[in-house]
Amino acid sequence: SQQGEEDPQALSIQEGENATMNCSYKTSINNLQWYRQNSGRGLVHLILIRSNEREKHSGRLRVTLDTSKKSSSLLITASRAADTASYFCATRRQAGTALIFGKGTTLSVSS
């Protein structure tokens, strides 16, 4: 079963604009991870945020986590055409279990 739900399902922006995608989840978590998937490829880990963190940065990525609302957001600043991909949030209920992925947001960045 899907644990996370990303919103929006699809997003189209111009190069240089910021892209924001959201993830809502159902059960309590220890951490939340974001992955990127380019067309026809496997998923690549982007960033992990722990439940005791509210915000985390990595290059042009900014992730926030609101455990009271069971939601997270991923912001990509100054988007580039190479950012065109699908983005997934994923959570793990407890140690030793597999990551459960949401349905993803498909981002299209045009030049």
């Binding site: 899907q2 220890n30 026809g40 490829r41 496997g42 793990r92 140690a95 990551l99 349905k103 993803g104």
Partner: protein, 115 residues
């Protein structure tokens, strides 16, 4: 460091035929996962191995799917007989030991089309 290797890259079969996928995880990674990704959806876990033991196969359709990880390294996933709804990308992933904060490393996947 070499990544997760999967083969074949693409496979087209007719329904009721059998098919097998192979995965070689990153060297030293004890935990191996097979995920099924249907077009437009997120990956769905099929089975998780810790070394050569099964940790979770609760979502594996055991009447037609089987998987093994002999010697705790390579793994194969088999479908027999295949159905139309099995058309998907089959992703293999690995992680070091499967702890709470670990990230997963994915292969490029095998795209299966069942006609």
């Amino acid at each position: 460091e070499a990544g997760v290797a999967q083969s074949p890259r693409y496979k087209i079969i007719e329904k009721r035929q059998s098919v097998a996928f192979w995965c070689n995880p990153i060297s030293g990674h004890a935990t191996l996962y097979w995920y099924q990704q249907i077009l437009g959806q997120g990956p769905k876990l099929l089975i998780q191995f810790q070394n050569n033991g099964v940790v979770d196969d609760s979502q594996l359709p055991k009447d037609r799917f089987s998987a093994e990880r002999l010697k705790g390294v390579d793994s194969t996933l088999k479908i027999q007989p295949a159905k139309l709804e099995d058309s998907a990308v089959y992703l293999c992933a690995s992680s070091l030991v499967g702890t709470l904060n670990e990230k997963l490393f994915f292969g490029s996947g095998t795209q299966l089309s069942v006609l």
